[in-house]
Amino acid sequence: MLRYVFRRLLTAIPTLFLIITISFFLMHIAPGGPFNMERGIPPEIKANIERVFHLDEPVWMQYFRYLGNLAHGDLGPSYILINFSVAELFAQSLPVSIRIGSWAMLLSLVVGSAMGVLAALRHNKFIDFFIVTLATGGSTLPTFVTAPLIQLIFGLTLHWIWIGGWHDGELSAAIGPIVTLALPQLATVARLMRGSMIEALNGHHIRTARAMGLSDFSVVVKHAMRGALLPIVSYAGPAAAGLVTGSIIVETIFQIPGVGRAFIDGALNRDYTLVMGTVILIAIFTILFNFLSDLLYALVDPRVRYD
């Protein structure tokens, strides 16, 4: 087990290295730069600024300088928000994204599995049909459609929620982005749970449990659900990482100062260090969550062994 953990962490390094390299050269090969403003600044000033940020050096030197700094955990200064380092920007934006993302994850896991179990228990009844329809809708509707619709219905018409801004994470401001982020995941979780639960309820061990006179609750929760949770566990890892990516659109629409917004702003302003920082951050999250979900898989399913 320990060897497996070690090996997984070791293979993560080349992946991360590749991501950094591709993004770095992609950005620096592209025409234009962070200080090519429309209001031209005098060339000598521009040269000075570029010297400060080492932008006058050849690209490969900048690359190794960046890698060197990164090895010390230094993500560099932001090129556009002059007085901030990228790390400081993340210190502000990451908690916001994590807060929205984790609530969305919790919501989709709890409500999604509950709906899936309910649909499986009432297989082919009205409620099953209803939940399947809802889940199909949820996974088909893209976020940039559901988000403005939620704003329109609950914000502009009913005045229950803020339609933009973070307002220090007040519930009425956070609920819109959380629900929007959760909806597609919730739909997928419900579908997966329904499928695996129907299969589990037909298993021999469930028949045995029922024959032994266990209560319905015990049969469903203790015996059927444990096996049925497996697909959810393997889905949850990539999904959790996807929440951070999905937050680009949600954070843009709801004007939430999170990592997704930071990335878009950074890309539009060619804030090289900010963009690099975000890509690295997302890559780490993706690798980490996939790893965690594999580990969790082994905990839920004793048949899975890593060695």
């Binding site: 991501i19 993004s23 592209a30 199909t136 403005p148 997302i282």
Partner: protein
């Protein structure tokens, strides 16, 4: 000797077609999709509006099956025109389909004043009916120009119906073309990898594994931002992102197909690898490929709309459903139809494509269920 009546065999495709016909959701979706495709192809020419024509008098007018201008707006409209012409309105009335306005001024009125009427979107063929002897009072006539905006107009006063259909044309075209790019790359890559096998296969699939780990949404955004908002680039970026799944599916299929007897027979007859791949392996994978294409097209449409929503995709004056939804959501206060109409078109098309994809999967791959 008895005559042997040859039994007519049922091919895989006829079998699949029969199964598909029994799937009502898929059939209805297919009909709906054909309808949408036809509508986006010929529709923009039938609406009577160009998708770029702006009507300054009708900015953000709501959807209506009755023609514009509305009768109760005529008074306000004529007052505005007369003010713009620096004249004083005496009276106006409607007579036998013609619209009569009597105006006065402190100076003699020029005959060219009818242009003010023509220039407005509500009136056409303005004429001078009569003129007082001193030229300071004049009666003008014009006919009311009836325009239909069944879906209303957008914030620049352009017909939303025409624009939605044009946008649909773009969205569907991008979906199809970028889907094709992804499928072509995926099929070629996957089949070569699976067919060659061994070290090459391992190497090629390792590349796919690594690419899987990259945060692609971010790469697409970076590509589009840093290399300009180029239509072709968008195709390539989307195609380059979505071929990975296809490559994996095709590789798996190839691995099992290449051990079939007919492939060995072809090998024994000296057909070269490329020939076997093109003649025997790829045609036999058509089923899974078709299924994947129908599931891929909605993904591409969503990705394109996502980019367009961020302002990185299709640029004005062209439009796509993503662009429209983005504009609609920015102006939905008081004009929710700007958001709802393109959103309805987009989602219904996505639903239809998904149902068709599911139906095809059931029909072509009965083992799967």
């Amino acid at each position: 000797m008895t005559d042997v009546v040859a039994m007519k065999g049922r091919s895989l495709w006829i079998d699949a077609w029969n199964r598909l016909k029994a799937n009502r959701a898929a059939i209805i979706s297919a009909i709906y999709l054909c309808f949408i495709v036809l509508l986006t192809i010929i529709g923009p020419n039938l609406t009577g509006h160009e998708f770029t024509t702006q009507y300054p008098s009708y900015v953000r007018v709501p959807p209506s099956i009755e023609p514009y201008p509305k009768a109760d707006k005529l008074d306000q409209e004529i007052k505005e025109i007369i003010t713009r012409a620096h004249l004083t309105l005496k009276e106006w009335k409607q007579e036998g389909g013609r619209f009569l306005v009597t105006v006065t001024s402190t100076k003699p009125i020029d005959d060219r004043v009818t242009r003010y009427l023509d220039r407005s979107d509500s009136f056409k063929d303005g004429k001078v009916e009569s003129k007082s002897t001193d030229g300071m009072e004049m009666t003008l006539s014009a006919s009311v120009q009836h325009l239909y905006f069944f879906f209303g107009t957008d914030i620049s006063g352009r017909d939303l119906l025409t624009r939605t259909l044009m946008a649909g044309r773009v969205s569907l075209l991008v979906g199809l073309l970028a889907g094709m790019v992804a499928v072509t790359i995926g099929v070629l890559y996957g089949s070569v990898s699976g067919f060659l096998g061994g070290k090459t296969d391992e190497f090629m699939m390792r590349i796919v594994d690594i690419l899987y780990a990259l945060p692609f949404t971010f790469f697409v955004i970076m590509l589009v931002v840093f290399f300009g908002r180029n239509f072709m680039l968008m195709f390539l970026a989307i195609g380059a992102v979505l071929w990975l799944d296809m490559a994996r599916i095709v590789r798996g299929q190839t691995l099992s197909l290449k051990r079939q007897e007919y492939v060995q027979a072809a090998e024994a007859m000296g057909v070269n690898s490329w020939g076997i791949l093109m003649r025997h392996i790829i045609p036999n994978m058509l089923g899974p490929i078709i299924i994947y294409v129908t599931l891929l097209v909605p993904q591409v449409i969503i990705l394109e709309s996502f980019l367009s929503y961020l302002g990185l995709g299709v640029q004005e004056p062209m439009s796509s459903w993503g662009v429209q939804i983005s504009q609609g959501s920015r102006n939905m206060e008081g004009a929710s139809y700007l958001l709802i109409i393109p959103a309805l078109f987009l989602t219904s098309t996505l639903f239809a494509l998904n149902f068709i994809g599911d139906g095809l999967r059931d029909a072509l791959d009965p083992k799967d269920r």
